[in-house]
Symmetry: C2
Subunit: 366 residues, 2 copies
């Protein structure tokens, strides 16, 4: 365990006061903002997330707003996913790649209107890439960070809690759809989405000043539902195969390596950056790819890439790992070369505490 | 004090093993990498820095390498500083701005050759901006992160220590000049530079595998000089007026507001991004600017912007603050509106522990 020194540069969020009052025990830094990692314990948070409902400060999923006549053209330049059929009110998971097909971010895009979009980003300064592209191509769009701050409500009781705040209309939201709902006189986007497999919503809190009123309203309305402050849970997200940009894939990887080939329509996403580079890998397939990996025995926290070995040959690496109580296994996410990525392949993962047996799985633990 | 949860996303450096073995007590996250903030105590580290010599893991100052026929043109596009007279072997502090003149980073550029440069970055993903510009303007350059990792040697005994490792030639380096020196058969850039006012060098460690051998060599050679692991020191950098990007200035600010107008030659830096926006502010001057601020009494760690008030009127903010033992004052860095920025102006700074008297200074504490 290390101590985090605080400064303005590692920014607080509109919900930080609530996170602190709820007894946060650990943070990471995400997009140069505080992101909680644990409240009671990672295992206790995990069990509670699967049974009740949690409120997560995910304001570190910072927003990029794109508005203007060239907004749709810009969005299609940014991603190899074909956005032609995307409707206003829809969320889309959009891998963003550079000119070589290397992943720069894996955000969720929200289409507010034909000429207005938000991009809800993972951990890289995607704003700088977007601004550079806009400047270089002289596109007629405004790009900025709006005063909008995501707060997630996750868990099986999320519908019940959310209906108490926003009305029964939120129950009708389909997965990865959003609509506008009133909170104390302010209209806010609410989407059925979130970084867990337990179901729930993300509220795009409109205005930092509404942050703590919204936090308190959810906590008060959910008291009988055992609502608790929470955060993305390491165990639950690995079980569910939810990738983390910067952990499981980086600029070194194509979307195909990250197992996101199904979100790439390189032939029809005309004008997207990286198309030339991705066309070939789209046809031939990648030489390495993300796989679920079971690890036998105990292991330390995964704070660096752990080599995956087949005898003396390095055939991949593990980048996220946690002990899963529900599945009674070491659950991990790794990148494995095609020669060794078939389910059932037995490998060795080299942890700082020594080698462990690692087995490629055919699916994540859901 | 908060606890930092570790993951691969918050990257270790080639020197992290040394930092840990030296008993690091606190970290921040800088460019998604670990950066130590304290070893013995901030005050003890501060006194030692001013008397002896420290080795700092500043690998989080990540490098961007720009190479190719358009490298010099690209560099001049990136900054309003006029680079026409810059020679190979020279370092230059270069504010980098967007098309509106807002600061994106304040790195040090190293000119290796007419067609090869490194940019040693502050805390933002400048790589994405540079790549976006290069792609948009179809410039003939390669942009990438080289396998180069800065290690700083700072303090009054830095020359003596460095000469033992790299030979007496390092003593001849002038301020903000660099040259190539051998370390165990590998040629490395050594510059006379660093984020303190105590003098010293930055070694651009060539190859991650050379990181720990270099660390150990410095520690062993400096034993009789009382060498110790260190890090940028909050007190010393505020005393010296060394700004921190993300703390004291952000994308909201122009270089002129940050007091960096002397590094901007907007009229002659032909082709630089943001020229149109900066021409006017260069002529009229900014409406707010960085100032040294003395704070009376005690105050908590500065983890957010503290408002500076003149009665009921908000006239600025403090963004870095620390108690200075040597100058027996609360030393701070603030951004103050021109109506109240004259030296001697008495203001009130609103800290989370209550209001304190703040006085604008005419110079930093050096």
């Amino acid at each position: 365990m290390a101590t985090l020194s605080l400064s303005r540069r590692v920014r607080r969020t509109p919900f930080s006061d609530g996170v602190e009052a709820a007894g946060v025990k650990g943070y990471t830094v995400y997009n140069r903002m505080l992101l909680a990692t644990v409240f009671r314990s990672v295992v206790e948070d995990y069990r509670h997330l699967k049974q009740a409902v949690q409120v997560w400060d995910v304001a570190c999923e910072r927003q990029i707003e794109i508005g203007g006549p060239n907004a749709a053209r810009l969005m299609q330049m940014l991603t190899p996913r074909d956005l032609r059929d995307m409707q206003p009110g829809q969320c889309c998971y959009v891998p963003i790649v550079d000119e070589t097909g290397g992943m720069l971010n894996d955000p969720v895009a929200l289409k507010l209107a034909e000429d207005r979009w938000w991009i809800s980003i993972a951990d890289s300064d995607l704003l700088l890439w977007v601004k550079g592209i806009v400047f270089g191509f002289r596109l007629d769009v405004l790009v900025d960070e709006p005063d909008v701050h995501p707060l997630a409500v996750q868990g099986p009781k999320a519908d019940k809690l959310m209906a108490r705040i926003f009305g029964d209309g939120v129950r009708d939201l389909r997965f990865f759809r959003f609509d506008w709902f009133d909170f104390q006189g302010t209209s806010m986007v609410v989407a059925r989405s979130g970084y867990s497999k337990q179901g729930g919503f993300e509220i795009y809190c409109n205005g930092a000043a509404n942050g703590m009123p919204l936090w308190h309203a959810l906590m008060e309305a959910g008291a009988d539902l055992d609502v608790h402050a929470g955060c993305p849970n390491l165990i639950e997200r690995i079980e569910g195969g939810l990738l983390s940009y910067g952990n499981d894939m980086t600029r070194e990887n194509t979307p195909h390596e990250a197992g996101l080939g199904r979100f790439c329509s390189t032939r029809t996403a005309i004008g997207c950056v990286g198309r030339d580079a991705l066309l070939r890998v789209a046809r031939e397939g990648p030489v390495q790819q993300i796989r679920p990996i079971a690890i036998a025995g105990d292991f330390p926290p995964c704070d660096r890439a752990w080599p995956l070995m087949a005898g003396e040959l390095r055939v991949g690496q593990v980048t996220s790992a946690a002990a899963s109580p529900d599945f009674d296994t070491g659950a991990a996410i790794g990148m494995v070369r095609m020669t060794h990525w078939n389910a059932g392949t037995a490998l060795t993962v080299v942890t700082p505490d020594g080698p462990r047996t690692a087995t490629v799985q055919d699916r994540f633990w859901t």
